[in-house]
């Protein structure tokens, strides 16, 4: 794992993503300014020494809001990836262990069906049906992570099932479930970490998009997407309102993607062989 830090892409990505994770963590006990009080008198200040990123239309400190917004984004994305992995991986492993069975067929066809729905559309429908909230955003994003992980783990598991060490475990009398967890899962962990990183960044983008259309976290909880939505009409005279939250999204997503790519290079045996 330490080898990853020797890769420039990973390092840059780690620093970028790390900054925002750190900001989110720090925001739990300290922010430069309160984010839930309204101070109309000081609205729309440009960035200065007191308000590093300026203030918004309610006079709130944008820097503080981005810190707390990082919390929202990260929380939503992590739980959504958790849902995807927690349900998708066991389903994928089960489908692979029983390849060709009815179970496999049902799991994979359901996956295909979910894939056939444009993701954002369904997210909008879910939040429209059950109300706009961070929890529903998580569920909507999480649902679309399930087939991603199910497909990935099934594909990877299938190629592992043909390997001799799995055959050896079968000769040792181990059950498919036992083999899946003892032999298959550890060997697809790398892949899952890479995909997890990428889904994490997609989750942040999706959360931002949902919040942007007003279906994510509700006020007064700050959220990057909603900050952008609220700043929209003011971009023309207060560009800092849109600039900083937008940059926060871009840099976090960029950081995670860089990490994901670097890890993929690191784990991919094909590329490793090239290096050797």
């Amino acid at each position: 794992m330490m080898r990853a830090f020797k890769m420039p892409g990973f390092l840059i990505g780690f620093i970028l993503a790390g900054i925002f994770v750190l900001a989110a963590a720090v925001s739990f006990f300290w922010t430069p300014d309160a984010v839930d009080t309204v101070d109309i008198v000081n609205k729309l200040h440009v960035p200065d020494a007191k308000n590093w990123f300026g203030t918004d239309h309610f006079g709130r400190d944008i820097f503080s809001m981005i810190m707390v917004g990082a919390r929202t984004s990260i929380a939503v994305a992590i739980v959504a990836v958790g849902i995807g992995m927690g349900l998708g991986v066991p389903l994928g492993l089960a489908a692979a262990a029983r390849k060709g069975s009815i179970l496999d067929e049902v799991i994979m066809r359901t996956n295909d069906l979910i894939f056939a729905f444009p993701a954002l559309l369904i997210a909008i429908m879910i939040t429209a049906a059950f109300g706009a909230s961070a929890v529903n955003a998580i569920i909507a994003i999480g649902i679309f992570n399930i087939p991603v992980f199910a497909r990935l783990s099934r594909g990877a598991a299938l190629s592992l099932w043909t390997r001799d060490f799995v055959l050896a475990a079968r000769v040792a009398g181990k059950s498919p479930a036992h083999i899946s967890f003892e032999h298959i899962l550890p060997n697809i962990l790398n892949l899952l970490i890479v995909q997890g990183t990428i889904q994490f960044s997609l989750g942040i983008l999706a959360e931002a998009a949902l919040s942007y259309v007003g279906l994510g976290a509700q006020p007064p909880t700050p959220s990057w997407g909603r900050m952008l939505a609220e700043s929209q009409t003011m971009v023309s005279f207060a560009p800092h309102l849109a600039l900083f939250p937008g940059m926060a999204i871009v840099l976090t997503v960029l950081g995670l993607n860089l990490m994901g790519d670097a890890l993929r290079d690191l784990f991919d045996p094909k590329i490793r062989r090239d290096r050797a």
């Binding site: 839930d36 009080t37 309204v38 109309i40 609205k43 239309h57 309610f58 006079g59 429209a128 109300g131 706009a132 909230s133 007003g214 509700q218 006020p219 007064p220 929209q232 009409t233 003011m234 971009v235 023309s236 005279f237």
Partner: protein, 490 residues
Amino acid sequence: MKTILTGVSALALTASMAFAQSTITIGDQLEPPYLDPTAGAAGAIDNVVYANIYEGLTRFASDGSIIPGLAASWDISDDGLTYTFHLHDGVKFHDGSDMTASDVVWSLNRARAEDSTNAQKGLFAGIADVSAPDDTTVVVTLDAPNGGFLFNMAWGDAVILNEGDDIEALKTHPNGTGAFMFENWVQGDSITITRNDNYWGTPAKLEGATFKYISDPTAAFAAMMAGDVDAFPVFPAPENLPQFDADPRFNVIIGSTEGETILSTNNAMPPLDNPKVREAVSHAIDRNAIIDGAMFGYGTPIGSHFAPHHPAYIDLTGESAYDPDLARSLLAEAGFPDGFTTTLKLPPPAYARRGGEIIAAQLRAVGIETEVTNLEWADWLEQVFHGGDYGFTIVSHTEPMDFGIYANPDYYFHYDSPEYQALMEKLTAETDPAVRTELMQDAQRMLAADDVNGFLFELAKTGVANAKVMGLWENAPTQATDLTAVYWAE
């Protein structure tokens, strides 16, 4: 290829030049669901058809006064029970058929019928009988005297339709008597109307107009700036108005509306059923911060449910002046020294969403925690308006003179005051203007004293138009975009 190119662009050029002079594109946020104003209350319908396509017996002038419409004049019997309307002669519907007294009878009877889907059935509730002695005379008999009857007949819900028209067809192809005729509707995008050359009154100056629907405030700003839209009578983003004001290409038109924007309070839900608590709430609210923060300064503070531009208005904002300390002590008196938690459900308009955040912060400052939920109109209607499942909400009540809603204990405020209900009955029966004014002032005081709702501000009509567009309404006594007098300068 080159010739085709020049040809097309020349065509486009001439087309757009012809357009610029005699037609106008009006921007609006909400598209009407259909175009029959007698079958639904959506204000967006009136924004298109009122005064342009459909007309009633009377109508609102831009200052809110009632002037003759299809009825050239009328007589009122001494007991105030019989109204005799004398209709204009030679009025034709857009399909060419004559508008006669029987159309009026049919229209009013339809509106007050048992199975009517008219959203303002109350306007017609006092009518006992409608008859047509001849083609240009209509006699309306009332159950009891009603001082507001002529006012009622000016509403968009009381316009006159052609007897026997297919009601279904009218929803997409309106057939009125107005100075403009319906031409085309691209659902979700725009509605086009053209001048009615056979109009009975003063013909319109414009050849036609297009209503373009742009719900997103940013898009509205872009569309105005890019010149895609000539006027936005109610521009959705007040924060952009200074930019328009600074730009010589545009005129910013600020006027009044009938929209009392209030922090609607569920008077039936504890602890908001406690008058002390409601009083505390009204003192916790800083109206100026809300007008400044949510509306960027556009709006007039109100202290009761009444439009400030109305002659009967009295300023009661002092009754509920911003005083957080008083609010805290009132809360303590009411038995909530540590405050309480309730819900704040917000419909989509910016005044509600932004105002809601500010109010939530102000209430938090005196110890009242609110769980803020942003709702689509659909959910708002379901949960708040019908379900009564809310503590607070913010909404602008845009119907003119709509303080009567407080007399209905089932209305979503759940304000049940026999005194107020008696007062309203008296007001309805009263026809003497001086006494009516007094009664209306009593009503204002009563609502303010009971702190039924948090009275915030009268919504301003924040319009933007191309500097060369003349004749648009400054104020909005009712929801309407009256284009009959609009023209392009030079």
